[in-house]
Amino acid sequence: MNSQAGMETPLTQYIKGNGASLGLKEYEAIGGYTALKKVLQSMTPAELQQLVMDSKLKGRGGAGFSTGTKWSLVPMGPEAPKRKYLIANADEMEPGTFKDRLLLEGNPHQLIEGMILAAYAIQADISYIFLRWAYRSAAVLLKKCLEEAYAAGYLGQHIAGSDYKLELYLHTGVGRYICGEETALLNALEGKRATPRAKPPFPQISGLFGKPTIVNNVETLSCIPHIVNNGATWFRNLSSSEDSGTKIYGVSGKVRNPGAWELPMGTTIRELLEEHAGGMLPGYQLKGILPGGASTDFLTGDHLDIKMDFAAVAAAGSRLGTGTMIVMDDKTCPVGMVHNLQHFFAQESCGWCTPCREGIPWVEKILWSIEQGAGRKEDLELLDMHTKFLGPGNTFCALAPGAMEPLQSALKYFRPEFEKHIEQKKCPYANHTH
């Protein structure tokens, strides 16, 4: 969790190793809320939007869309709707992903400051943190920090002495993966079923309660104060690749030192695995990597020198996603692992569109059947069919296409293993786990 000497780690450098979080006093002592004061005193919303555009910050929630561009689609000026919303997507529920938790528990004021800045940039007057239900200690912390921020005049009327006002509320979800999808999140926040919405219209035009709304990821928002304090060029230069800034990467699986680290955007998989995660545990070999969470395609040992940025991982046939990788070792059955993931996705389907609601449970059942030794040759064709027909555009949102990514890549890289299950009518892994 600690930053590396000599490297800038603006998001995490002040996060204490002992699990304690920064209170308001401590946050202010390290320069917290100076960015907010600076912006309110000397920058127009348009200038702040331009700054973030220039920083080339891309959303850290998985899709990697330009934050500045997203903001620029919000109607501004006197003709714009009076009410607008800024929402922090803290519904971190992607399997294998725990990077936002680090920020939420370690430095909540950094997120709050980022949110106020983002809200100012789009001239929102109401803001919500949509927090995953299971992040209970983060909820307690955020509540306390919000009270501190209100008391200090950073929230409410006349923020930091300016004319800008913002109300910020904490909303805890009830534990649905689909709420991480921004439009499903909006429906959930409205008290409706957490079903995604069709786009267009985009939330920037018709979002929460039909009003212009921006939903940004926790990590994305946490970058904003630093961009304000240090400038767009500084932020771009933090990275060793096309994509600017630092990224909180994570590694889980049978490695010596699983964890999360803030590193320059574009750090290679090899560096992550070998230097930061300390390599594989003795007796385990690397077999596959889901580079950005459960809904990304497998990469293999052949891809270790790929840079972990949006373009490079995409070029290798996967996605950076949340940047938190799951490592699959040679003692783990790929069929069992993919079955486990499909079980999750099937359960988390909202049930709105047919392919996702009916397709993923079918996939899950096929995989279970193969894993149990009851697989048939035709089953692989059925799995292939699903990876094709549950692709982007065919389903209502990105959940099912995401679910198909580990499956299609497992079928690509580990097909013989699937076939072996079918031929031997059993799982060849002696001590496999599900």
Partner: protein
Amino acid sequence: MPTIRIDDKDYEVRDGKNLLESCLALGFDLPYFCWHPAMGSVGACRQCAVKVFKDEQDTRGRLVMSCMEPVKEGLRLSIVDPAAKAFREQVIEWLMTNHPHDCPVCDEGGSCHLQDMTVMTGHDYRRYQYRKRTYQNQYLGPFIHHEMNRCIQCYRCVRFYRDIAGGEDLNVYAAHDHIYFGREKEGVLQSPFSGNLAEICPTGVFTDKTLKAHYTRKWDLTNAGSVCPHCSLGCNIFAGERYGEIRCITNRFNSEVNGYFLCDKGRFGYEFVNSENRIRQPLIRGRLVDAVSEDQLLEYLRHLTGNGNIIGIGSPRASVETNFSLMQLVGIDNFYQGVNEDTAFLQKRVTDILESGTLRSNSLRDIESSDAILVLGEDIWNTAPIMALTVRQSVMKTAFSQTVQQISLPSWNDIAVRELTQEARGYLANAGTSGSPLDKLATHHVQAAPDDIARMGYAIAAHLDPSLPPLSKQENELTARTGEIALALSLARKPAIISGISACNEAILKAAYNIAWALKRMGKEVGISYVLPECNSMGLALTKAPSFEKALGRLERNTGTTVIVAEQDIYRCLPEEQAEMFFSKCGKIVVLDVLHNRTTERAHVLIPSASFAEGDGSFVNNEGRIQRFYKVYAPENNNVIEGWKWLERIGGGNERIDQLHTMIEKGLSQFAGISTEAPAAGFRIHGEAVPREPHRYSGRTAMWAHLQVSEPKPHQDNNAPLSFTMEGYKGIPPAAIIPFYWAPGWNSVQALNKYQEIPGGKLTGGNPGVRVLNESAEPRGDFFTDMPEAFSARRGRWLLLPAYHLLGSGEMSMESRGIAELSPEPYLALSMQDAVAMNATTGSTMVVQIMGKAYSLPLKIAETLTDGLAVVPAGLPAMPVLPFGSWVEIVKK
């Protein structure tokens, strides 16, 4: 009109539509589930996938859901593209992973959209090998059967029930592949529009429970287009028969009247046709054997009617033809309306206003396209349910049309439109004596005494037109609101005013007129609607005949007058004593009717009338639209024939409806156009009549085998271009004579698409029905100025008013078991304050004293009722007929 390219051919399509509706309008067979013309697109089922291509160079294209893709000039798409076809087939296979293959025992089988779409996509082999998910079903009341295992999660049911009908007790529960559509707890569905679930559901989850009780496949029904006989709106229906019983009622689309939906009274109120209580045999009472042959009957009647001392009493539930034939038989001066004096008076006010041509008499479609609505003194939720549903859609659509302009959103993008619209609503003001479920939607809603509602109306008109005298002072809260209501109406482009006679108050009718006329003078595209009680109230009122109460004098003078009553129960028109008094003055009483009732008990001569299901005829709806209904089946019992046919037989007239129509037009110019309401009986297409039976009709020989083993000659129909067989013209006939919807590959009700110019648009060749009340080109009118005094409560006396109950107040519909089950028990409602003052609580026995007679009723406290008003349910069989609109004494027992 943009041009789009579908599978390498150019087509002109309408702007603003999506690709799915455009393809369907062009006649392409493109499968779908979640889309509905009345509910728009939500993109959930993914069944309507097509390929679109960027340009000519693009050969890969991408799959899109055609329901979510707007039409664009030059857009290129493919329906037959292999990837698109494969995907559509796959969607069905997915749906089939959990759908039970129980078509043979499913009520939807044979008229199932899911079956049709399955065949259309070509899916025929299930590769899914695992267990299907199963659910517990719920008891949902007497109308709707629930079978959740069949659900394909298209979400149409909840979208209809909640978004369209405003119901709250049906919802979607759970998630992923265990989505559940039902109620929180099992129980009777609360919406009076619940029956539409049976048509909205594309498969057999929600089916008609009354049909289940005597189930018949759609293909085995004999059908005809008909008109609902249960209220004055004249919703178009199909009735289906098998073995001499009406088995079900389904919606017959008419974009100017009922659109896609029916109320539960209309859909389930048909059981009276099959009732044990039907009159089946002519009787002459007092003979050794009452039952007589037709010849004996006619001889007796000709003798009875020969001396000229005769009057006829027509009926608001008898057809135009029956009332006319009676008028012919007895002579125009001897014809009376079968409604009491008060009703006749109020209906005359309505016809006087509408016949003056000053105002447009609104169709339901006019109301739907209005942008501000005032309902003045009529409880339309109960007296004209589909009008209430229409008002609901209008209020929503007005708001939608405003919001979609903000971000140029296509109006069919349903969820996005609703999201953007949030709580915004078009303008609705609802003023009534009791609260209404419409109040939830209303910007202003008011509960007041009828006179105060009328005063409010006069005041609104005075705000709108400076030539009217303003109110002298603003006595109460009601008149204070009139300025806001007037302002809202004056800001509208197309305001609609709705009123009716159920509050028993003439001033309300006048006030509604004043408002509409004031708006008209402001240049508004205004229209007015008056709701009347029965299916042909307007048709009867247009005869201008006096109320039968007016005949009392002559009955007294001319003793022994023969009285012919055509299809009306006098005991439902008058309080008991008055009815008895009336009958005591009559000579021989001849009654034609459908069901036995207290009036038929008084008949010396009783004649069985055909119901709407066994007869041909026409009703005039509240709008002034003459609509034809067709004999669905020829009953085995030759005695059951139309009232008009009996009357023509007695008078030696002809029995051809077309000739009767010519005579009606000659005799009563107000019905001019009746001869053009539908094609004449001799109409043929390529020499063929239109068959009432689908071409898959089964058992037509076997079902008569107990009588004869050879197939009997089909009944001949001299009054319609329809045949009682399977043979005949199979294409799409003129709209008025469509007997059922069917097209190749489309066996469910969704075949309707093929009968419309565009999905949701009017029927090809025009909607049926002829309007006889039309606005004149240069309307001239005057205002009414006789505003009533403000209502004031009286000591010890209450103004007695009726409460109409959608399920309960209908004479015929109460023969349906489900409707009777859900109808209320008799009660007397008073305001809280009045109840407290009498030291009475809910359930206390209250005694209503009328003309020396006491009626005991349990008390119901109505929170929003005005002090000084007493409300009792109207029309319940268990309720005595009380003099509504008069002051009565009430004491606590």
